[in-house]
């Protein structure tokens, strides 16, 4: 299946339109522009990777898409509606440790349904199905701390999927995993995406990851974050690990490396995140 066919299919929602977006962080003297004049249009069902050096404003942009951060200028529309705060239609997945530690795997996944007022038996049934989808059947009654990092991220993904999101916003979701687990998770994510066809905005600073996953990559400059280049990836799907060593892949990788390299950050890297907590 070609990536183009993916987004052309009618009925899929999750069209994102970002226009001249500016986001300020900090306050008073410390205020600065973290995202500068970003305009992007993302098609329904498209898999977009946002690639950029750390500290360039990727999480900030994603925080605004999620509805947690207020832009200082510009607009974001999803399916022609302006954003109004966070919404379960736009699921958010972080790097690690954002499952509720006091809830079992089952209750974590079922959380979104609980918020909708769905009864316990029904939400557990549906959570069970999703856990099966991400390969975690049998771990329903475990607590997050009893799972490995990769398993925790599968739970995160299932927890978001239960809301049938139009858009999945993923902030370096596999960034804390070892290389092998990360590959497995990338494959899993692609499989899941093939079956549910939601729009995905996926942040990473790993070039291989971006090239392997995306229909299109957006490359951001160091702070203040602007989009300096876009590349559409025409690799056929389903993608296999062999892709990583193909000529075209390596050629693109070299190109990205050069872009990211010449744009080195010249400010002290702070361990701050736009949602307010060190991660």
């Amino acid at each position: 299946m070609s990536p183009v066919a993916n987004h052309a299919s009618p009925g899929i929602q999750g069209h994102i339109e970002i226009k001249n977006l500016y986001i300020q962080l900090g306050s008073g003297d410390q205020a600065f522009e973290a995202v500068q004049n970003v305009s992007v249009s993302i098609k329904p069902g498209e898999f977009v990777c946002l690639l950029g050096p750390s500290g360039c404003g990727k999480s900030t942009l994603l925080g605004a898409l999620a509805g947690h951060l207020q832009p200082s200028d510009g607009s974001i529309h999803v399916d022609s509606l302006p954003l109004n705060g966070p919404h379960p239609e736009r699921g958010l997945v972080f790097q690690q440790h954002t499952l509720f530690p006091w809830k079992t795997v089952m209750d974590n996944v079922a959380f979104g349904l609980k918020m909708k007022g769905i009864l316990r038996a029904e939400r557990h049934k549906r959570a069970g199905e999703l856990l099966e989808l991400v390969g975690l059947a049998g771990f329903e009654q475990h607590y997050p701390f009893q799972l490995s990092g990769g398993m925790q991220q599968r739970v995160e993904i299932a927890r978001v999927l239960i809301n049938h999101p139009k858009v999945m916003l993923m902030d370096e979701p596999f960034g804390a995993l070892d290389a092998q687990t990360r590959m497995m998770m990338q494959q899993l994510l692609l499989d899941v995406w093939e079956s549910i066809k939601t729009t995905i905005v996926f942040i990473t600073h790993d070039i291989d990851e971006a090239l392997f996953l995306a229909d299109r990559i957006l490359i951001m400059s160091p702070r203040p974050g602007r989009i300096i280049e876009q590349t559409v990836l025409e690799f056929v799907r389903p993608r296999k690990p062999e892709l990583l060593t193909s000529d075209r892949f390596i050629q693109l990788k070299r190109h990205c490396l050069e872009l990211l390299h010449t744009q080195s950050a010249d400010f002290p890297l702070q361990r701050l995140t736009p949602l307010g907590v060190i991660s």
Binding site: G85, H87, H97, F100, P101, F145, V277
Partner: protein, 278 residues
């Protein structure tokens, strides 16, 4: 799936661990035994070291005898129940108000600005300093003692609650909101459970300070209770009973703190196991 197969660990290692565990236990017990032995030597020889003298200090054997006598006489029961009901009332009041205020202050900047400054001013005042005023303020000495206990327990509970609420990971809140939680659900589903371990730490410390303050209050204002008993034993020169009273206070304070901690672990299985793991 590595973290789940702990049962596979090599037996030899486990035996080694058990031995080390047993060694540590032995060391701890001997440490207490040595302290008692030193006390025995110092008191039976009426040691006089100039700045400190053991001439009037009862020996462990005398204390044991006094304790046994006390238990048989059942005189202690009324003292114990008096103290325990005071601690319980004061602690309960402090828990309700401390957690309530702490949650508000931790969550709302307005509450922080209006409620915290006066509380911060009252905080450094030690419980003993409250005694005269509380006698004047409350109709019965019983109530004033409960109040003293309350002040002692309040601040550790309040501060731990505030700290627990403020330390909640903002990404957890963001996740919950993105999953459809409104203000109320964020509070009950995220803030409360996330702050719970810190709140329980505060409760456990508060339980200790509650005993501490109660005994002080009883020594001055009480007609019953273990603190009163300890002080009364001094005035009637029953020196062995002083130490019995002291030991009882220590035991009860420690016991009730442990009880609070156990309750916390029971209510927060994820937390207890997380701690055990790290």
């Amino acid at each position: 799936m590595g973290s789940i197969t702990e049962a596979d660990s090599i037996p030899a290692e486990r035996i080694d661990l058990n031995r080390r565990e047993a060694g540590r236990r032995l060391r701890r017990v001997s440490s207490i035994a040595i302290c008692v032995l030193l006390w025995h030597l110092a008191s039976t020889r009426h040691m006089d070291l100039g700045v400190i003298t053991f001439q009037n200090v009862p020996s462990p054997a005398e204390v044991l005898a006094a304790a046994r006598e006390l238990l048989e006489s059942q005189k202690m029961l009324s003292h114990l129940t008096a103290s325990m009901s005071r601690v319980f009332s004061g602690f309960l009041g402090a828990a309700v108000i401390g957690i309530g205020l702490g949650l508000m202050i931790g969550r709302s900047r307005f509450a922080e600005d209006t409620l915290l400054p006066p509380l911060e001013m009252l905080r450094p005042i030690p419980a003993v300093a409250w005694i005269p005023l509380s006698i004047l303020m409350f109709p019965s000495s019983e109530l004033s003692m409960i109040f003293i206990t309350f002040t002692g327990a309040l601040f550790p509970i309040l501060l731990s609650t505030i700290h627990g609420v403020e330390a909640v990971d903002a990404r957890l809140i963001a996740s919950a909101r993105s999953l459809g939680s409104g203000r109320r659900a964020v509070f009950t589903e995220v803030i409360l459970p996330a702050a719970a371990p810190s709140i329980f730490t505060g409760l456990s410390i508060g339980m200790g300070t509650a005993w501490f303050c109660l005994v002080t209050a009883e020594m001055i204002a009480g007609q019953f209770g273990i603190g009163y008993y300890t002080w009364a034993s001094y005035t009637i020169q029953n020196y062995a009973d002083i130490v019995v009273g002291m030991l009882l206070i220590g035991l009860l304070g420690m016991g009730s703190s442990v009880l609070v901690k156990k309750l916390g672990n029971r209510l927060m299985p994820w937390h207890a196991s997380e701690i055990r793991k790290s």
